[in-house]
Amino acid sequence: MALEFRELRLLTLAGIQDAARRRIVPALIVVCLVSLMMVNSCTQCSSGATIQTQGGLGQLDLALWAGVGVFLVLTFWIIVLAGLLASDHLTATLEDGSALLVLARPVSRSSLALSRLFGSLSISLGAGAVLQLGASFFLAVRSDLNPIPALFALMATSLSALSVAAFAMTISLFFPRIIAFLLILGSVTLISMLNLISFSGAELEGVYYVLDRMGPPFVSSVMLALVPWSGQPIPLGLALETIARLFVWAFAGVSSLVFFFRRLELTRLEPL
């Protein structure tokens, strides 16, 4: 067990270095900066910038809902990014043959898979932390919003990103990267939309209801974290169920990755 932890630590460090060298990272930094500037602009709800209409939202309400909106957009972006980065981070090492040398060592396949998962997540969650903490900073400074819900939202986003990245990595073992990413993008978009529709009070039926209530709570979990901002009460039972689903899906994602990678015939290693 001690050795497994040591090899996991060593390989995770290598996986993070590998992820940090990807061509997408400089682009990601630019996107993060642009996003922060947009968040900065979205959170400037000063008295001179808003018009109070009778029966409409007050200035604080507006800031609160702007905060919720910003966090939902950032959550979606971070989860999709996690899927994108994970969709080739493991298979690239199999296809170029570099995983061969590692797997010829007394290293378990689980350690290699998890190290690649953590490596890709380090980039997406790093970007997520910068964006969500940056947004909460702007909201706290400008509108005096309590930053604690933002931290819970970041934790919920991180767990969702973990499950999405793990499933993207699992799918990439069997399908080309573009298929894996499109499957993930479609699933995340559909479930996020269903979560939003459900949160708005509309009734979902059939498979949509099942997906919303049983699927990963990408949006629901962030809405739950941001209840102090939105002021929308969520029944305790539903709140607990949402938290449980968050952990169950993260566990299912990681378990499926380890399960399938351990059983995979590694024929994609260099030409036979």
């Binding site: 390989l11 170029d96 040398l101 797997l103 290293v107 015939e265």
Partner: protein, 243 residues
């Protein structure tokens, strides 16, 4: 004690048979040369030994264990045919990672890293990026990672690949030195002369079957050299095999 055992091993890929009923045993301290033309199944056999592939039928044991387990690969040094090294790493950081993965730590890791780097002639370039090295130097680094941790079993897939004649001779000396300290060696190669010099036994694979296995003088008939025996056993019609 058998370090490697393959019994009745068949391996099929999508209907194509890569190995058919292969039996091989490699006992501790011995050196076996796996010979065969391209597509004979040599690399598949090595991957089965490392647990990267699973047999369709039959079984494989590495150090007495299922090669799918990490424990079975303790003390194994492997040099693949097509070596892909992480170009962004320095030779030092690459060897350090592989030394640590083979179980070394602290001062022992540092001293072994220097030992293998000196042995393969890259000690003065430890801080060079792997991606900046010539093919021959990369192969030397590949040997260094296979040798780090003083493995008890060396699996070498076309070890002379990318080496010039001087490098090939040096590689032969490194492998001989490993053998002298009791290391078990399995070499897959096209180069019959190298195998003849380094191994006490050979197995000739052709179309997934072991055509002959034993000591070289058991396989080679009177008046033949190993090349003649090889040609006799695998035929020369496909024109693909390298000698």
């Amino acid at each position: 004690m058998a370090v490697i055992e393959l019994r009745g091993v068949h391996k099929r890929y999508a209907g194509r048979s890569a190995l058919e009923g292969v039996d091989l045993t490699l006992s501790e301290g011995s050196a076996l040369g796996l010979l065969g033309p391209n597509g004979a199944g040599k690399t598949t056999a090595l991957r089965l030994v490392l647990g990267l592939l699973r047999p369709s039928e039959g079984w494989v044991r590495l150090n007495g264990m299922d090669p799918g387990t990490a424990e079975s690969r303790f003390g194994v040094g492997y040099l693949p045919e097509r070596l892909v090294l992480p170009g962004h790493m320095t030779i030092r950081s690459f060897l350090r990672l592989h030394g640590a993965l083979s179980g070394l730590a602290g001062a022992e890791l540092d001293s072994d890293l220097v030992r293998v780097a000196e042995q393969v002639g890259v000690a003065s370039r430890l801080d060079d990026k792997v991606g900046e090295l010539s093919k021959g130097l990369m192969q030397r680094v590949g040997f260094a990672q296979a040798f780090i941790g003083a493995p008890r079993l060396l699996l070498l897939d076309e070890p002379a690949s990318g080496l010039d004649p001087i490098g090939m001779r040096e590689a032969r000396d490194w492998i001989s030195a490993a053998r002298r300290r009791g290391c078990t060696v399995l070499i897959s190669s096209h180069l019959l002369s190298e195998v003849e010099r380094l191994c006490d036994r050979v197995a000739i694979l052709h179309e997934g079957r072991v055509r002959a296995e034993g000591a070289i003088d058991e396989i080679v008939r009177e008046g033949e050299v190993l090349e003649d025996a090889f040609m006799r056993l695998v035929g020369s019609s496909d024109g693909e095999q390298g000698i």
